[in-house]
């Protein structure tokens, strides 16, 4: 099936098998491997991207469902060699260890602040419910998101 998607500002046109998941299209067809896969039940959130500005799990939808949409992946956040403020906040607050959940976590966190620019700690914890991390115990992830919110 034909699909046209704008990914990180660049248009892509291609033919995909109908069963291709968006995450596999991003990783394998486009070679953008920053978006990770951590489960097969849409539980972990490692594959979170932005679809038309909204954080979604890219393993939960087919590539063809993204036809005509604008996708931002972790690779599309930094501008002119400068990391996005959320990426900087994660670095400054040691919000990552192994880094595998990180791309999805950062995308989810940006999505969270888009909806709620000044969340409480509780709201950050609830807002990131769909993204699992096994290394940090979430403490510094929550701190990173709150820091990014207060820097806005």
């Amino acid at each position: 099936m034909k699909v046209s998607v704008t990914v990180n500002g660049k248009e892509h046109h291609g033919d995909v098998e109908p069963r291709t998941l968006l995450v596999h299209y991003i990783r394998e067809t486009l070679g953008l491997t920053g978006t990770n896969v951590g489960c097969d039940t849409s539980s972990c959130g490692a594959c979170t991207i932005h679809l038309d500005g909204e954080a979604v799990k890219s393993c939960t939808m087919l590539a063809v469902q993204a036809d005509g949409a604008s996708v931002t992946t972790i690779e599309g956040l930094a501008k002119d060699g400068v990391m996005h403020p959320m990426q900087t906040a994660f670095m400054e607050n040691h919000g990552l260890q192994c880094g595998y959940c990180t791309p999805g976590m950062v995308m989810a966190a940006i999505g969270l602040l888009n909806e709620n620019p000044k969340p409480t700690e509780e709201e950050v914890r609830m807002g990131l419910e769909g993204n699992l991390c096994r290394c940090t115990g979430y403490h510094n992830i929550v701190k990173s998101v709150l820091a990014a919110a207060s820097a806005k």
């Binding site: 990770n36 990391m83 914890r125």
Partner: protein
């Protein structure tokens, strides 16, 4: 050419941000499955749906017709591919039973997930489609799932062994023969408790991934794997496949967490290598999460019987422990050693006489093999002694903190020669515990508890604590020899000062989230008087780091980090000879401060390391017999384990109507000696604590009586999310280790060791007014509610 200047550095102990982060934050980092490997065939492994069954027949004809499928192999097809069975490096006793274990089962499957056939296809979709098209006829056998059932030998899994018992490992330490029995007879107080350590799934966020890339004409093979142990994997895979070791290179790219689950030599690694060689083409495999829960090792899995004897003051006079350890279906790399690692810690942080009677019998079950999972034997031991202390305090009707105080090893007793013959390097348990109590506002919480926990109250407050030792920094090689471990416990480091005064550190440790690049650069920077950004840290590739024993058991800093410091010392020694030659003075008249050699008393006669590094490179003016270049290599065998310690406390509120447990406050006071980077230390504690909380409240590999895993994915296995856990208040005391020059101890497992008993003692404390003295883990709302219901309403709804 710009030569980097030497300048004063005071970098150890600072919260330097991690250099690892930008690539990980931007998607630039490459995990194994991100590697672009042209022409690679995809491996899929067909796995047994039965826990225990005979394989009657395997028909692959339909699967072979699927477009893209290249070949399918059964266990029988590959029998000649292996020079040896899959390795177990820890035969804990000379008569330990170890059933032959091959990457694919041939006649019989022994757990759900046991490999039955290997499919190679040109793409992942085809190889996965083929899984459904293979027709395997099984004859199901009765599965052995329960540990006590396994011990009974009513149903023997590995018939050739004649028993389900793998080994019995005793540790009896008695001042005089029979003194343990005597102590129990004479004891004023004694307790006897049974605890169950449920099976846990390590669940690193990156599932395992592998790519084996052969060089068909040269004969070499490179294995890329999401592993914690590239060096061990290299030698073990060479032995198992019968490939000359020098032809194997193992690379661990970015690794997305391990927690012990990637401390193994796995069937899929061996299959990828064997099939890549057979087909003269790269072969790759990536694990699905559901496979991960079944085919990657699990942790814990013990039944513990613990007895304590105490005198009239509550001073512990003897410890007796009997354990049944769950090995699962086969022995993986260090499976049998895990309970043994805990054997030395059932006296916890307490001063006990030589009256210690430990024995562990480990059994095979028809379940996924167990192996090291964060803490490996030590969380289990700590849980048992800390819960035991609580039971003893209840028996004596005194406060458990008071009982701990009466038994703590005192600060002035360090270095402390323990009953076991091991020496605890340094500690101050009371200091850490009192700090934790103060931060918890223990007195305030107790007062609040009196007000709140009144008859009829439905929200009960509880406070829990645990004091722990994390015997880590694995390990002195001679001690490992005495435990029958097949390898040593040293670590290697190379430090090289390049002509431009940039520094290369090559380490044998293999990080997967711990920030070694940052911390190791800090150590070298401090030692050599350069900026940390001028230090490059190379690791996790056996072609670059030829020697090493990798990362596990909180060993990286106290063994690998210390090796780097020692290699820096060697570099400085060599540089000093060159400096003395060029400054025309005696080497012993030189001092080395902030990266510069100067003549003591004549600070103007000085040479920076930068000049010496360049001079060593040009080799124009070196002393006689001095080799060019400034580099040194060290293999460091630690003289002792390192013994981090601390006390954790938490306050919980238990809802007696729903069984829900809410952690209101969690305080972790940890002492890992000197800290290289407190930012990273705190991160390790946060993550460790949450994994311990997860064991206490959420996680369990649940099997049915047929050996089917009911919690086989992340929708069913409850890894806590951010909203399930509290923020963690961390604090430290600093008691340097006297056994290494950095004064450091490990910290990777401390949080996990401390947390589960802290939470569980808090829950029991909350429910004590209902007469509840035990609670199974995980203390899920159902379990808590059921326990309350049984205690208060006689079990009736």
């Amino acid at each position: 050419m710009t030569i980097t200047e030497n300048k004063p550095t005071n970098i150890i102990g600072t919260r330097l941000l991690r250099r690892e982060d930008p690539p990980l934050l931007t998607g630039e980092a490459k995990f194994t499955n991100d590697l672009n490997i042209p022409g690679a065939l995809h491996l899929s492994v067909l796995r047994s749906p039965y826990a225990h069954a005979k394989i009657k027949s395997i028909d692959v004809s339909a699967a072979l017709k699927i477009a893209g499928v290249i070949a399918i192999y059964t266990g029988k097809d590959l029998q000649s591919a292996w020079a040896a069975p899959m390795p177990c490096a820890w035969p804990v006793t000379t008569d330990m039973k170890n059933p032959p274990h091959y990457p694919l089962a041939s006649d019989k499957v022994n757990y759900v997930g046991d490999g039955v056939a290997a499919i190679l296809a040109t793409n992942e979709t085809a190889s996965r489609d083929a899984l459904d098209a293979i027709d395997v006829q099984y004859e199901p056998l009765k599965a052995v799932v329960d540990l006590e059932d396994a011990l009974s030998d009513k149903n023997v899994i590995h018939k050739d062994l004649g028993t389900n018992k793998s080994y019995t490992w005793p540790l009896l330490v008695e001042e005089t023969p029979g003194c343990v029995e005597e102590a129990f007879k004479k004891a004023k107080y004694k307790i006897k408790e049974r605890y169950v350590q449920q099976r846990l799934i390590p669940m690193a966020m990156e599932p395992r991934a592998i790519a084996a890339v052969p060089q068909p004409f040269g004969g070499d093979i490179t294995l890329y794997s999401s592993t914690q142990i590239p060096h061990i994997l290299k030698v073990m895979s060479a032995l198992t496949l019968g490939i000359p070791e020098q032809q194997v290179r193992v690379v661990a790219p970015s690794v997305g967490g391990g927690f012990g689950s990637k401390l193994d030599v796995y069937a899929e690694e061996l299959l990828c290598m064997a099939l890549a060689r057979k087909h003269n083409t790269p072969v790759r495999w990536v694990e699905e999460r559901t496979e991960n829960t079944q085919a990657t090792i699990q942790g814990r899995g013990q039944i513990q019987h613990v007895e304590l004897a105490a005198d009239e003051n509550g001073k512990i006079t003897a410890v007796r422990v009997r354990i049944i350890g769950d090995m699962g279906a086969y022995l993986q790399l260090v499976t049998p050693g895990v309970p043994i690692l805990g054997a030395f810690l059932y006296a916890g942080v307490y001063d006990i006489p030589k009256a210690y009677d430990f024995s562990c019998t480990s059994v095979f079950t028809n379940l996924t093999p167990t192996d090291a999972y964060r803490g490996a034997g030590r969380p289990e031991a700590t849980y048992a002694i800390e819960m035991g202390i609580e039971a003893l305090a209840r028996e004596m009707k005194i406060d458990s903190f008071e009982l701990r105080k009466r038994n703590y090893i005192k600060k002035e007793q360090f270095p402390y020669m323990a009953f076991s013959g091991l020496t605890y390097d340094s500690g101050d348990h009371l200091l850490a515990a009192e700090k934790a109590a103060k931060m918890t506002d223990l007195a305030g919480v107790r007062a609040q508890q009196k007000k709140q926990n009144v008859p009829g109250a439905t929200k009960l407050l509880g406070v829990g604590m645990s004091s722990y030792f994390e015997m880590c920094g694995l390990a002195p090689s001679r001690v490992l020899a005495s435990l029958n471990y097949s390898a040593g416990g040293w670590e290697a480091a190379t430090v090289r000062v390049l002509p431009t005064n940039k520094v290369q550190v090559i380490t044998g440790t293999s990080p997967h989230g711990q920030g070694h690049e940052t911390s190791w650069a800090m150590i070298a920077a401090e030692k050599l008087g350069v900026a940390p950004e001028d230090v490059d840290v190379l690791h996790s590739d056996t072609a670059i780091s030829a020697l090493g024993l990798d990362t596990y058991g909180s060993r990286s800093l106290p063994v690998g980090g210390v090796a780097i410091a020692l290699a820096c010392d060697k570099v400085i020694e060599k540089a000093k000879l060159i400096a003395a030659h060029q400054l025309e003075c005696a080497a012993e008249d030189l001092q080395f401060v902030n990266g510069t050699f100067s003549v003591k008393g004549s600070p103007d006669r000085a040479l920076p390391l930068a000049a010496i590094a360049f001079g060593a490179f040009t080799a124009h003016n070196l002393p006689d017999g001095c080799e060019p270049n400034l580099e040194a290599q060290v293999s460091y065998d630690p003289p002792n384990f390192s013994w981090p310690f601390g006390t954790h406390m938490c306050v919980v509120e238990v809802d007696t109507e729903t069984g829900a447990v809410k952690i209101l406050k969690y305080i972790a006071v940890d002492d890992c000696g000197n800290q290289i980077n407190p930012l990273i230390v705190e991160g390790q504690v946060h993550g460790g604590v949450v994994q311990g909380i997860a064991q206490a409240l959420f996680e369990e590999a649940v099997y049915d009586s047929d050996g089917n895993l009911k919690s086989s994915n992340l929708a069913e296995y409850l890894v806590p999310a951010a909203c399930d856990v509290p923020s963690i208040t961390t604090a430290h005391t600093i008691t340097p280790s006297p056994t290494n020059q950095l004064g450091v101890k490990g910290i990777g497992e401390a949080g996990t060791i401390g947390a589960a008993p802290t939470v569980m003692t808090a829950i029991i404390d909350a429910l004590s007014s209902l007469g509840i003295t035990t609670m199974a883990m995980p203390a899920s709302p159902q379990t808590v509610w059921k326990t309350i219901n049984e205690a208060t309403r006689g079990g009736k709804k």
